[in-house]
Amino acid sequence: MIQIEGLHKRFGKLEVLKGIDLQIRKKEVVSIIGPSGSGKSTLLRCMNLLEEVSAGKVMVDGQDLTSTHTDMNKVRTEMGMVFQQFNLFPHKRVIDNIALAPMEVRKWKRDKAEEKAYALLEKVGLREKANSWPSQLSGGQMQRVAIARALAMDPKVMLFDEPTSALDPEMIGEVLAVMKALAKEGMTMVVVTHEMGFAREVCDRVLFMDEGIIEEEGSPEQLFSHPKKERTRSFLGKVL
């Protein structure tokens, strides 16, 4: 599904990703953990080219994103992204937040787009908030709307960048529940997270990043219970 080869990313002189090789298979749920500044967000953002890559290849569904012939707008419709800060459109009601992209990008009629939006709101348990403004929602509700918005384009992959880090503790559960349901349905997911419980319970594979490389990877059981590398051990020691 996603294939990354020799990926490097520099911001000016600062090299943030120092050669990443990675494959994400269909229906796989992969989480990326690691200390702050290790390049987790940057790696995720390179997957849909929100960040230009400096060197290396990013392939999604057989398409090379780094090639100038690739229609990035089209590729991005296949990849949903959920942000730490939700990034809902504050000037649009919940329903329009979700229906906008299908109407604009897929050229759907309003009726069809809204029908889809209502179904997705149902799925994230917020149907009654359809006509609210984002500012009227709690953080957990906003993030669930953001997930529904990303799902409206029927993506093949969902990218999550610390979806629960900006939430009050009592709201984390409702968002994780939606993500778990999504994983169960067979959605391919890449999740940058500090929620070790979620990584352990839901993910097929966990990647530990440190200083711009993937230091260690394995099944949750392997990585959490029997880490091989010293850095992984010391990181886990701090967060668990």
Binding site: N48, L50, N73, K74, R76, T77, M79, G80, M81, F83, Q85, N87, L88, F89, P90, H91, K92, R93, L100, A101, E104, V105, N131, S132, W133, P134, S135, Q136, A146, R149, A150, A152, M153
Partner: protein
């Protein structure tokens, strides 16, 4: 104080009011077009777009409007007219050109500020859904930016209305010109200037009401509006 001079010279004031209003509205509209274009150019990463816009904005903001009016009326436009074999332009045209160009520079900065004030995440969210840059600008960035631009735009329009008085130096028949002429001819020192002041005040007051009404109208659409539960 002899108020009858106003009745006597009312045509001059009516014409002044007309010129001041027309000049301001014209300059605002032209300035908006210039300002939006320059503002977008200024935000571009391409040097050929960015640099000329920045130069233009810096020059017009960095020199006095009075100088710009004189320069355009006595130097630039007569030269341009000569090239096309025309006679030198009317003062009103020069005034209009100078005010529009000047307003364009200030409005460009307001546009730029408004667009930049929208969080980076908004563009990213829109792009991550597959929208093009243009679609994202149109549906996500500009509507939010516009709302934030209204107060500074309102201030700019009011400033422009008052600054339009500077065109009286090239003998445009605006309100200041009416007041000065009346004062000179009648030897009445207070009345003509008070009248001009009151008329300017009424104009700026009306304009500020319009801006206030627009702000209110746009702020009821979403964003931080908690009374509208639905």
């Amino acid at each position: 104080m002899d108020w009858s001079v106003i009745v006597e010279y009312k045509d001059l004031f009516i014409r002044g009011l007309f010129y001041t209003t027309i000049l301001t509205i014209g300059a605002v509209l032209t300035g908006l077009v210039i300002g939006l274009s320059l503002g977008l150019m200024r935000l571009s990463k391409k040097l050929v777009l960015y640099f000329p816009a920045k130069l233009y904005i810096d020059i017009f903001r960095g020199t006095p409007l009075l100088l710009q009016i004189l320069f355009i009326h006595f130097a630039v436009l007569p030269e341009v007219a000569k090239v096309f074999g025309l006679s030198s332009p009317d003062a009103i045209l020069s005034g209009f050109v100078a005010l529009s160009l000047n307003a364009g520079a200030y409005i460009a900065e307001i546009f730029r500020g408004g667009i930049q004030s929208v969080e980076k995440g908004q563009m990213e969210a829109a792009r991550s859904l597959g929208m093009s840059h243009t679609q994202a600008m149109r549906h996500i960035i500009l509507p939010q930016a516009f709302k934030r631009m209204l107060p500074p735009l309102g201030n700019e329009f009011i400033a422009l209305l008052k600054d339009s008085s500077l065109v009286s130096v090239i003998a445009v028949n605006d309100l200041i010109y009416a007041a000065q002429t009346t004062a000179k001819v009648t030897w009445e020192r207070w009345v003509p200037y008070i009248t001009a002041g009151v008329l300017y005040f009424i104009l700026t007051y009306l304009l500020s009401r319009v801006v206030f009404w627009l702000e209110k109208r746009y702020s009821t659409e979403g964003e931080g509006n908690l009374d509208d539960t639905n």
